[in-house]
Amino acid sequence: MSLVARKLEAQGIATVVVGSARDIVEECGVARMLFVDFPLGNPTGKPNDREMQRSIVSLALDVVDTAIGPRSTVQAPIRWGTDDWRTAFMEIGEHNIDKLRAAGEKRRAAQAGS
């Protein structure tokens, strides 16, 4: 998606990426990012929270309007409320290491066969 933003900017269209994977977007290099520090899935606000959703989108537009140069990242001033998702997502541990390896092997075998 960041590659799309770059292409649009190069063709004269102002962009903002609204996202939660800050490192991926910033390493790719985009004109503007509104970073929403949420679990992946709801970058424009918690489900059914219309007020929050509207404020995030409004802030993203303000970032477009006011950024002075490329690589402008603003972090939305909101929190998810819990932090356990930060470690739970794609977690690797004793409890699942064998399962992960087996699933990977199965996927590779399927890909080799297709």
């Binding site: 509207r54 537009l61 390896r101």
Partner: protein, 170 residues
Amino acid sequence: MAARADRQITHRSYVSYIDKSREYYSASGYDQPYRWAAHDEVPFTRLDKPLSECNVAVVTTTFLHHHDSAHGAPATGKQVYHHAVADVPDQMFTADLSWDKQATHTDDTESFLPLGSLQSLVDDGKIGALNHRFFGVPTEYSQRKTGLDADAIASWCAEDGVDIALLVPL
């Protein structure tokens, strides 16, 4: 302002998905880590008119369901698409994308495809217009393919007179 910090931390708090995915796929037995795109130079277009006069389009990585459109998404063979904002289904197809299915859900499309929020900002005069169609792009493994998809979206945006693109990766 209180002197006491809200938290004490020893590591950065925001998640590095580059680190996480590398470690996860390594644990799954993949030898080669995914190589993410990185650039030194970043193009930048300054907004040359007030927000209140701008036509705003959304770009999403989600797809319509099969039964909603010819652009409906199988997990493979997805094509870049455009779709009328007046005809958005209640649900988008997100099951095959990588997002945190334990922590949250995508049942509310406004949480990642904010067409209603943008329309309310049009109604309030903050922006000029919501573009009559939004755009969808597959999250491709191939950066070359994404480049071609980006060309398609750029030409649709030019056709529609889009001033601002709001890109929302899931």
